[in-house]
Amino acid sequence: MIAGMVACADVGGFYQKLYQTPPTESLAGSYMLSVQSRFATISPIVLAGNADGSAFHTMNGIFDRSSSRFTVVFPSGAMNGTLVDERIAWDGGDVWLLQATPAFQLADSLGGNTDRGWSLNGMYMDPAHHQAGSFAGTSIVSYDEPDSLVGAFTMVGSNDGLDFWSVRGNFTPASGAVVVDLSPLGGESSVDGMFAKGTLRLGAQRIWEAQEASSRGAGEATGYVAVAIAVVFFGTNFVPVKRFETGDGMFFQWVMCSAIFCWGLVLQAGWWRSNPSPRPILTPTLTCCSLCSSRCTARPTAFRAWAAAAPRSPTAASTRTR
């Protein structure tokens, strides 16, 4: 069990509430969840985010691994939820989905000129770690006290898009001074920083840029790229065989479908996910390649040899020779 928990990342991640009608705020109902202990059966968790587009706030709770149950203190009171597959079903009826990729586009909020203003809480991006189309190098900052715009805050984020950490700090709006406790990440317990014009500097190196999220863009752009790919490939997929004799098409189909199945296997192996280590990418790919090569070389050759040895029947001979 423990080996399994270490090998794969934890329940931490970016969750978003499932809406029947899409909200105008693209970050509405989204939370970053960080688990404090990877090994304890019952571990404290921290969430930073907002409900239905309201102000960002911090929520604390626990996660019980043995029953996959959450207990989180919402502003309205404590609530229990169950983790099933990649979603949290809250007893109150809401469902939160774990997001593998952002369904929105992030853009720098340009020093507070936009709606986000000068507030510290909200979504951040670290240009040094960010990978487009993933949550790598993103974080959410929220104040610990409800309806507060000053004082203690929590930052939940991820460097690789899989493992979500959390740190706590304190913000003084008058001077813009920030003090963060980086000890959960192996850093110092008191790191000075500065927040000004949408840029949060922590220590000497780490810089976080405040982000505006817009619904249009990422999701839709991906959709149109996908349409373009589908159109070009559906329009071209018979081009390679156009000039070849395929007879009754039977063998061609078999080869084609082997390729389709192989593609499914490769996709299933999950090479498209942002993986921290190359091993999960390489192994299935190699397996699949060897599968493919054995399918498209060994078997047909064997068939051919077998076919050559077998006596020809008049039925088959008449079928296709034109």
Binding site: V11, P22, L98, A103, A230, F234, T246, M256, N275, R320
Partner: protein, 357 residues
């Protein structure tokens, strides 16, 4: 196993976790069932007519599913009347494509000689290996009606092949990433094909050839040696129909291949030179189908379906004009030009409608 269970319990994405989703398998079965009908349809009403019918039904079905929010996708198709106009233009374009006549004077050496590239893969339907049925001539009126009905049915099945997985995806009851459904979908295609192949393999190849049966009809009774007494139009058709029997566009695989070998009396016709291009072709089809999953999720089916069912016709006709020179003559060019402009305009309108609030 413990690790695997932990991965599932943690609910976190695990590169090794096998996601096998029955609803996506059901979608694949729908597709494969629709695809099986291609050969009987083509042999009764011809490729052009068949494609027109199942292409339009496919597009309309998928589009209507999206419009009615049957798949529960919350992504909006945007301005409705503009979207409807765009879909209408795309439908007109589909109809125009069928007016293009292949160059009769030109002898095509390839197997798909009678089949325009344009007509092989466009309109989103698979028509895998339908090349063999191209020789079929239009048949009697009674068979035409059943052919039209079959084409309609196959379009309805094609148009709904994403509905079961989409329903799961959009209600949050399954993985949140559309790509997780692709493998199961392909498995469903494979599964349905294998089962139907087994049904067909009961047929005795030496008896009077029969058309492949669509789903819903029963398997031939093995105790009764006379196969399904399907109407047969013409003795001249016998030869061209015999091969469709084997080429029923079921999907793949050794089992199917083995049955084919049995049918061929240990003399399967293999074309080793097709291996590489065939594999490439399969990869392209699979990539396109995968992209379609993604497009459905982010644009909504009401937008993705008309775009992806009308676009490929443009691409393949361009291949036909500029590379294979199979579309020639002033009349053909005029028709093609009109069809392409209609399709492009329709697609642009659908895109613009989507961008509207």
């Amino acid at each position: 196993m413990g690790g695997c269970r932990a991965a599932l319990a943690n609910g976190r994405v695990d590169a090794y976790a096998v996601k096998f989703i029955p609803q996506a398998v059901a979608g694949g079965v729908l597709w494969a069932t629709g695809n099986t009908m291609a050969v009987p349809v083509i042999s009764s009403i011809g490729l052009g007519m068949g494609m027109l019918i199942w292409g339009t039904t496919n597009m309309l079905m998928g589009w209507a599913t999206g419009m009615a929010r049957l798949d529960r996708n919350s992504a909006s198709p945007g301005l409705v009347w503009l979207n409807v106009t765009g879909v209408g233009l795309a439908l007109l374009a589909l109809a125009l494509y069928t007016l293009i006549r292949p160059d009769a004077a030109k002898e095509q050496p390839a197997a798909m000689r009678d089949e325009l590239l344009l007509q092989a893969g466009s309109a989103g339907g698979g028509v895998l290996g339908a090349g063999a049925a191209m020789d079929a001539r239009p048949a009697r009126r009674s068979r035409r009606l059943s052919g039209i009905l079959l084409a309609l049915l196959s379009g309805i099945l094609y148009g709904n092949n994403f509905t079961p997985p989409n329903l799961l995806l959009n209600t949050g009851q399954g993985p949140s990433n559309a790509l997780d459904y692709v493998f199961s979908h392909f498995c469903g295609i494979y599964f349905a094909s294998t089962v139907r192949m087994r049904a067909c393999s009961h047929l005795n190849p030496d008896t009077y050839p029969t058309l492949p049966m669509p789903t819903g009809q029963t398997k031939p009774d093995p105790s009764n040696p006379t196969p399904n007494p399907s109407p047969h139009p013409h003795p001249a058709l016998v030869r061209s129909i015999r091969s469709p029997l084997t080429t029923t566009t079921h999907y793949h695989h050794q089992v199917y291949m083995l049955a084919y070998c049995c049918y061929k009396r240990s003399t399967p016709v293999l074309y080793p030179r097709v291996i590489l291009p065939g594999f490439l072709s399969g990869l392209m089809w699979a990539a396109a189908q995968t992209a379609w999953f993604v497009a459905n999720a982010s644009l909504s089916v009401a937008v993705a379906f008309p775009l992806i069912t009308s676009g490929p016709g443009i691409v393949s006709s361009l291949w036909g004009v500029f590379v294979f020179k199979e579309i020639t003559g002033r009349r053909n060019f005029i028709v093609l030009g009109a069809a392409i402009s209609l399709a492009v305009t329709g697609c642009v309108l659908i895109g613009v409608a989507k961008a509207m609030p």
